[in-house]
């Protein structure tokens, strides 16, 4: 009987130890959970194609305290050929004030959805925030580098092409004038012949 009670106590003690260990682990795990973060994004309300727009995101912890030295990515939502997704605009590290600033060349007009995203790490949980930027048509920013660019004659490139073509077509014109003259020579010789016969 005494032996049975001893085993019972032993089992109970083991169970208690297991429960205590699990509780301890849970406490440790709970203690290791990263802090919540928050992102505040700010984009220019309105800008034009070709403008350098400053995209700004402020990363704070749950207490509202700025988090410095962390990487924030900026994305715009885009659609192309039936697919939609986020196009990465760039990544910037937050400063002491928790602010990450990205200078972005606006390339298209319309309503652009911009997202700021903090991917998180051991200390801080990820966070994400979006805003909308309205862009208006502006200067054409796509300047092709293809084409003929003769140093020192950049303004004459098209002129050279037109001049060469102009010379060729002028000569064609001169030949056409000769065709006209052939026809006219026939008429004049006909009239001379008629005059002679008269």
């Amino acid at each position: 009987m005494m032996r049975t009670a001893g085993i019972g106590w032993l089992v109970l003690s083991a169970l208690a130890a297991i429960v205590a260990a699990m509780l301890a682990i849970q406490i440790v795990v709970a203690e290791a959970e990263p802090n919540e973060t928050a992102l505040e994004i700010s984009v220019p309300a309105e800008s034009r194609v070709g403008d350098e727009a400053t995209l700004e995101a402020r990363l704070t912890d749950e207490a509202g305290k700025p988090i410095s030295g962390e990487i924030v990515g900026f994305y715009s939502l885009a659609q192309f050929a039936g697919y939609s997704g986020e196009v990465k605009l760039g990544e910037v590290a937050t400063g002491d004030d928790g602010v990450a600033q990205l200078s972005h060349l606006v390339r298209r007009e319309g309503e652009i959805r911009v997202a700021a995203r903090f991917e998180g790490n051991e200390d801080y949980a990820p966070s994400r925030e979006m805003d909308t930027m309205m862009t208006l048509p502006g200067e054409q920013i796509y300047q092709s580098t293809a084409g003929v660019h003769i140093p020192g004659l950049s303004d004459l490139n098209v002129g050279i092409l037109v001049a060469v073509l102009g010379i060729v077509w002028f000569i064609y014109g001169a030949v056409m004038v000769r065709l006209f003259l052939i026809g006219r020579a026939s008429l004049s010789s006909d009239s001379k012949e008629e005059g002679r016969l008269a």
Binding site: S144, A146, G147, V148, N157, V158, L161, L165, V168, W169, I171, Y172, A174, V175, M176, R178, L179, L181, I182, G183, A185, S186, L187, S188, S189, D190
Partner: protein, 482 residues
């Protein structure tokens, strides 16, 4: 009947022989026209499918964006160099033997340009959008250069075809009056511009031909250079090379000469022109072909040795695909059967005859077509991103349109040969007179302001020729009528 001088007999015989097809139409002609028309109609039927369903009915796609159509575009523009070389260059260099073949060469030029220029329109799928190219095109774009160059060359070639034809149209007008329909006679009357061979008319004609034969050479060279730039200005590995311009021009002249030899052989046989188109013409053109065989071999060695010496980027892929891969059959057939074999046929004495040179020319044309094909398809087959290369396989629509294009090319030439003299009568007669005289001719009148270039002599006025010739088929009445 009073006896005629040998040169006059020659001229009369020449006129009878060359003008005969314009008045007599046999069953064979209609059969040929019918057969070719059926093939053309089949090509149009295939194009109807493409127009209705779009380029999806072809083997083209987002990666092989160019295929058979652009191959044919480059091929036909190449063949169009025939007229320039034979007619303009040989005229400038005063090569007298050219005279019986200039007309054919000039006509090949015009027809090949007309057919070739259509292919970019077929390739864009939506021909209604071609005006966007003109409306919104950029001067910096090689496509715009292409449009300008081809338009300029086609216009110049038409003028250059027409100018030396004026005296011959006058011969048709005067000789065939009672033997042809009134509409055909009206065509000759209007086309001859009232040509009477007067001093003033000769002066203007000589001046016009002199100007055109000079300007057409750089225009022709520029056309095929610009066609090559359509490839070379892109950043694709095998195309982006400075050698493409001269390589294309040489290939164009090569295929142009071959095309003339083939047409010459056909017309000689069909129209019985053996007296005027002699083995000498074939052998002279054969020598030109042989020279271009060497030039093309040189370009091949130069291009691939330079290119392959630095095996970087996509070069190994391109080497593999043309020498031992998917395009190897095209490349080796082009090199062995399209260049080396024709060269041998021309250079070996026992095959240096009409049959040998015609076979060599056919092989050259097949070889040059293959060359254009693997240039176009090979360049686009190289993956620009890490994806598997896509093999381009033309569909029945593309093959049918190609067949239709070749049939249209032949059909237009057949109709031309039915409407106009295929040999420049006045030039051949004049050259014969020069040879017969075996002595320098009296100097031509020194026209005020006439070109200093060597100019063709123009025959005496047609009216005076008519008085000299005795013809027993009503021509004496025509002379009186004049």
């Amino acid at each position: 009947m009073e006896s005629m001088r040998p040169t006059e007999e020659f001229r009369q015989r020449l006129e009878q022989r060359v003008l005969a097809p314009l008045t007599h139409t046999g069953k064979g002609f209609w059969l040929l026209v019918g057969g070719l028309s059926i093939v053309v109609a089949w090509g149009l039927y295939a194009y109807f499918f493409q127009l209705r369903d779009g380029l999806i009915v072809t083997g083209l796609g987002d990666r092989p964006v160019w295929g058979l159509y652009i191959t044919l575009f480059v091929f036909f523009i190449g063949v169009s160099h025939a007229g320039t070389l034979i007619s303009a260059i040989l005229r400038v260099t005063k090569a007298g033997w050219r005279t019986p073949i200039t007309r054919m060469a000039e006509f090949i030029t015009v027809v090949a340009l007309m057919i070739g220029a259509v292919f970019p329109l077929l390739d864009i799928g939506r021909p209604d959008r071609v005006f966007n190219l003109i409306q919104s095109g950029r001067w910096q774009s090689p496509i715009i250069w292409d449009i300008l160059a081809i338009t300029t060359y086609l216009t110049g070639s038409l003028i250059y075809l027409y100018l030396p034809m004026i005296p011959d149209l006058a011969v048709c007008r005067d000789r065939l009056r009672n033997r042809i329909s009134s509409s055909k006679h009206r065509l000759y009357r209007i086309g001859s511009l009232g040509w009477q061979g007067s001093w003033l008319q000769r002066k203007h004609l000589e001046s016009g031909i002199g100007l055109m034969m000079i300007i057409i050479i750089p225009v022709a060279v520029s056309v095929h250079t610009v066609v090559s730039w359509m490839f070379a200005m892109t950043l694709r590995e095998p195309w982006n090379t400075a050698m493409f311009g001269i390589y294309f021009v040489a290939g164009a002249i090569f295929s142009g000469i071959a095309a003339i030899v083939v047409l010459m052989a056909i017309l000689r046989k069909v129209y019985g022109l053996e007296e005027y188109i002699t083995p000498r013409h074939f052998i002279n053109l054969g020598y030109m072909l042989a020279a271009f065989v060497l030039i093309m071999l040189y370009f091949n060695v130069s291009e691939y040795l330079t290119y392959g010496y630095n095996m970087a980027g996509e070069k190994p892929f391109h080497f593999e695909q043309i020498f031992s891969g998917a395009l190897a059959p095209y490349y080796w057939t082009y090199l062995l059967a399209g260049i080396l074999l024709p060269g041998l046929l021309i250079l070996l004495p026992f095959t240096r005859n009409i049959a040998g040179i015609v076979v060599a020319s056919v092989l050259v044309n097949i070889g040059m077509w293959l060359e254009r094909y693997f240039i176009v398809v090979g360049g686009l087959r190289i993956p620009l991103m890490p994806y598997e290369p896509v093999n381009y396989v033309p569909t029945w629509v593309e093959w049918s349109i190609m067949a239709g294009a070749f049939a249209a090319f032949a059909l237009i030439i057949v109709i031309f040969a039915k409407l106009f003299p295929v040999i420049a009568i006045w030039e051949v007669a004049e050259h014969h007179e020069e040879e017969a005289a075996q002595a320098p001719q009296p100097a031509a009148p020194a026209f005020v302001g006439a070109s200093s270039f060597p100019l063709p002599r123009i025959p005496e006025p047609v009216s005076s020729i008519q008085h000299r010739f005795q013809r027993g088929d009503g021509d004496s009445n025509e002379s009186e009528g004049e």
